[in-house]
């Protein structure tokens, strides 16, 4: 074969190889945009009576004629709790373990199941029953179901309309009870506080991992629509020197603030390694050894504050817990 022909032959082979049609394509499937929509397999629920306390879950299945955005909502008919799952697919195969997207958490109640589709009128509906609530997660400081721990050390200013108390009126984020913090203090930012020592749980230090990236502090907090002036300060005192006590000005005091946010209940989760030292709300250098050591926490303090000139302020607390490996999944 002539050497002169080598390049043209190679080029032709290369080109013909390139001419092979590709199975994949770029962008969204046009059939999903233009194709007709219908439900080819109706919604089914594997377990319509689910016992969350024992770790049960239930599976939702359905099939559609094309890929599209669909939204599954599970709504507690008594609590108003919501779980929302959205996906772009033509096959629904989704497992629900009782998790809540919008607080309060699911209680023992009947739930409506609703499946809707983007740009389609169709809505599929069903019901299921929650037989028991989800088990508590992590090292729980309190869910207030048994009131305030008697070994906590609360301080409440002598202002007006003070309401540092446990309430049970159907508004709890989890279970039946929550802690109501409110009042008017005209001479000080502090309205009231809860000191939660490790000794309240019969331990010297809270039983947490020594890896600060693995430990999360979580709480559920409620902001009333009528009051925007509340500020919740969470403090963590460490026993850096191992003497069993926190020494002010010598050992680490980590803190973070919660303010603003949307009305109603929300879950606040903070990774312990992300918490800083605050002085008057501003980040500052650590006081002690500068190491985040969750296994050396001796006291957690929850301070409810407001500008003295701003009048009455209020917030609710529920389900205060340390979790390991990730934030609280309500």
């Amino acid at each position: 074969m002539s050497k002169k022909l080598i390049f043209p032959i190679l080029a032709t082979i290369l080109f013909l190889n390139g001419c092979k049609p590709e199975d994949a394509f770029d962008g969204p499937d046009l059939e999903d945009i233009y194709g007709p929509f219908f439900v080819s397999e109706l919604l089914t629920i594997s377990d319509e009576s689910i016992d969350l306390a024992s770790g049960e879950s239930t599976r939702f299945n359905a099939k559609f004629s094309k890929n599209l955005n669909w939204k599954l909502e599970i709504i507690g008919l008594s609590s108003g709790a919501r779980h929302v799952h959205e996906e772009f697919s033509s096959i629904m195969d989704y497992n629900w373990n009782g998790a809540t997207s919008i607080l309060p958490m699911f209680r023992q109640e009947s739930c409506e199941v609703r499946l809707t589709f983007e740009n389609q009128l169709d809505t599929l509906r069903d019901t299921l029953a929650v037989q028991s609530i989800r088990p508590l997660q992590g090292f729980v400081l309190s869910d207030f179901e048994s009131g305030v721990n008697p070994d906590w050390d609360p301080f409440i200013q002598s202002g007006s309309n003070m309401s540092f108390t446990v309430r049970s009126n159907g508004q709890a984020a989890q279970g039946n009870n929550y802690y109501d913090m409110g009042g008017t203090v005209t001479w000080d930012w502090l309205i009231g506080l809860l000191d939660i020592p490790a000794s309240a749980y019969n331990v010297e230090h809270f039983p947490l991992s020594n890896n600060p990236s693995d430990v999360y502090f979580n709480t559920m907090i409620y902001k009333p629509a009528a009051y925007d002036n509340g500020l919740t300060l969470i403090q963590f005192r460490e026993d850096d020197n191992g003497d069993g006590n926190y020494t002010s000005g010598q050992e680490d005091l980590w803190a973070f603030e919660i303010s603003g946010g949307s009305d109603g209940w929300s879950t606040i989760s903070k990774r312990y390694s992300d918490i800083v030292t605050l002085v008057n709300g501003s980040e500052t250098a650590p006081i002690g050894n500068g190491l985040h050591e969750p296994d050396k926490i001796v006291k957690v303090s929850i301070l409810f504050l407001a500008n003295p000139a701003s009048g009455y302020s209020q917030a609710y607390l529920d389900y205060i817990t340390f979790t390991t490996g990730g934030p609280l999944q309500p």
Partner: protein, 575 residues
């Protein structure tokens, strides 16, 4: 292998620059250009009584580009050029601007390395660094081309397809005794972006060419370009990287009166961000191959070529795919029109004169394009997602006043968009010109007629639910230049674009990923006609007065139905 001789550099260079040649050259030379341009526009809506838009607009400017070339020694040349511009209507200095237009130092180091620092014009290959001409208004008759030339000159768009960059380049060559005749090495590095000390890193373009000349018949090349961010020049943790690597081959052989040429280029590209936390940013890895066989008869003027090419959907080469026209740019003349003051769509007239549509910097992402103007090769030879065969046959002979060519392009996508069914592309183009000057006059006066017809068609079969694509556009261009009296020219031109059909245009995100499609029901036309006179003072200076009438119509927008009448006065001199 014995190296007989090193340092070929570069008698061609010496002639080219005229600065470092054997002949005696002046130490200081003045160079530059001057231009006066005036437009008088009249806009008229055809669809409604537009009581908002001011219909008449006068604009223009006078400018001088004044350059000084200094040659402190025979091996060095320094050029600085300033632009002084005065917009008509400026008063007591208002509207006057002074800019540094170009600045460079070049020369030969040690008699071996040719270098240039500062502003440089550089190109490599059509798939690595190549400034592709703008669609629709390139290679048009002089009546239109004179406006395009002004835009091209202002933006440093040269006929050699080079990009104007700021940086440094170096070239050298080695000559050998046998087996290999010559090895040439070219390098270039330019800065595309400067850091803002926040989220934008310094971005560098670098290029390298290694050429191997085996003989007068055969040469090979290796080309490498890389666009990359310099980590640490901003707070951004992500750095952009975009290497492109190609190999080229050229083979020439004359058999009888026929010159056979075989050209080929193939390569790969990569486009990615590094150290980026967000894993949604894709890593585009593409490839291409292009082979072309050309044949030309040295006596009778016949020539032809056959080209086959494959450019994968993921092939990216911003040095070759950056477009001259930014179709997302804003207009300065009649930017908003109609009683609703909607944005006026870009038309072929705007491509000829709107300076704001033309970027000068390489763009990281594929730029927007207008399917009605060019849906087949919007990014030039390096247009991704194309596999095609192109056949061209032509005739050009100095002894004949007639020259003509016919080009046929047939191709399809490599990977479908939204479906595995591929778009098909078809184009045929006929160019013909008749230069009768030498044949009708002993004075060698200009007398030429030029005509071009181009038909483009894009198609893709639909399904029961997905509409098919069928977009066609036709362009007819004609022009004449008649020197009716020594140095006095009567010139005129006409261009008609019609387009009709349906196309699904892909909508891409910042990372060039298609996330949706937009339906384009295109039906419209653009007509531009011009007539006027040109007086040529010399080869380097002319005065032109032209009248243009433009008509635009499309079904997308009521306000797009309008006419634009324009007088233009252009005086141009290069020195």
């Amino acid at each position: 292998m014995k190296i007989n001789y090193i340092a070929l550099v570069v008698s061609v260079l010496l002639i080219e620059t005229t600065a470092m040649g054997q002949q005696e050259t002046r130490k200081i030379t003045f160079t530059g250009a001057a231009r006066a341009q005036f437009y008088s526009d009249y806009y008229q809506s055809q669809n409604e009584e537009d009581t908002i838009t001011v219909p008449k607009l006068n604009s223009g400017n006078t400018l001088v580009d004044l350059g000084v070339i200094m040659r402190p020694n025979p091996q060095m040349e320094i050029q600085g050029m300033v632009r002084v511009r005065n917009d008509y209507g400026g008063f007591w200095g208002a509207g006057v601007s002074f800019d540094v237009r170009q600045l460079y130092v070049k020369g030969v180091a040690g008699g071996i390395v040719r270098y240039q620092l500062g502003d440089i014009n550089y190109k490599l290959t059509p798939y690595t660094l190549w400034n592709t001409q703008q669609e629709l208004i390139s290679n048009t008759p002089f009546s239109f081309q004179q406006q395009t030339d002004v835009v091209n000159y202002d933006h440093f768009y040269n006929n050699d397809n080079s990009w104007r960059q700021q940086g440094a380049s170096a070239e050298m060559a080695f000559e050998f005794g046998k087996w290999i005749r010559e090895i040439e090495i070219k390098t270039v590095a330019t800065r595309l972006k400067t850091t803002d000390f926040s989220q934008t890193n310094d971005r560098i373009f670098s290029g390298f060419h290694l050429g191997l000349v085996q003989s007068e018949h055969l040469r090979f090349g290796f080309n490498y370009t890389n666009v990359f961010d310099i980590y640490g020049t901003s707070r951004s943790m992500a750095t952009f990287h975009h290497p492109v690597m190609t190999v080229t081959m050229n083979y020439y052989r004359k058999v009888g009166s026929w010159l056979h040429t075989l050209e080929g280029e193939a390569g790969r590209s990569n486009w990615y961000y590094k150290q980026e936390q967000d894993d949604s940013i894709p890593d585009w890895q593409g490839k291409f191959a292009d082979a072309k066989y050309k044949l030309r008869h040295s006596d009778n003027g016949l020539y032809g070529s056959v080209q086959v090419k494959y450019v994968s959907s993921d092939f990216r080469s911003i040095g070759a795919q950056t477009k001259r026209v930014n179709f997302n740019g804003s207009l300065s003349a009649f930017q908003r029109v109609g009683n609703a003051q909607v944005l006026r769509p870009i038309t072929m007239v705007d491509l000829m004169r709107e300076s704001g549509l033309y970027p000068t910097q390489l763009q990281t992402n594929l730029m927007a394009f207008a399917p009605q103007y060019d849906n087949i090769t919007p990014y030039g030879e390096a247009t991704p997602n194309r596999q095609a065969s192109i056949i061209k046959v032509g005739y050009e002979n100095k002894k004949s006043p007639l020259s003509a060519s016919v080009t046929y392009y047939r191709g399809q996508e490599v990977r479908g968009e939204g479906t595995t069914t591929l778009r098909g592309f078809e184009r045929y183009e006929v160019d013909a010109s008749f230069n009768a000057g030498r044949f009708i006059s002993a004075d060698d006066k200009d007398a030429s007629v030029q005509i071009r017809v181009r038909n483009d068609r894009t198609s893709r079969p639909g399904t029961e639910s997905v509409p098919g694509i069928n977009l066609s556009s036709r362009t007819l261009t004609a022009g004449m230049d008649f020197e009716f009296k020594k140095q006095w020219h009567l010139i005129g031109a006409f261009q008609l674009l019609t387009y009709t059909g349906f196309e699904l245009k892909s909508i891409k995100d910042f990372n060039d990923e298609i996330y949706n499609f937009s339906e384009l029901n295109l039906e419209g036309s653009e007509q531009l006609a011009s007539a006027g006179f040109k007086y040529s003072f010399s080869d380097k200076a002319f005065l032109s007065v032209q009248y243009y009438k433009f008509f635009n119509n499309n079904n997308e927008l009521d306000e797009a139905l309008f006419t634009d009448k324009q007088w233009m006065l252009l005086y141009q001199i290069n020195f």
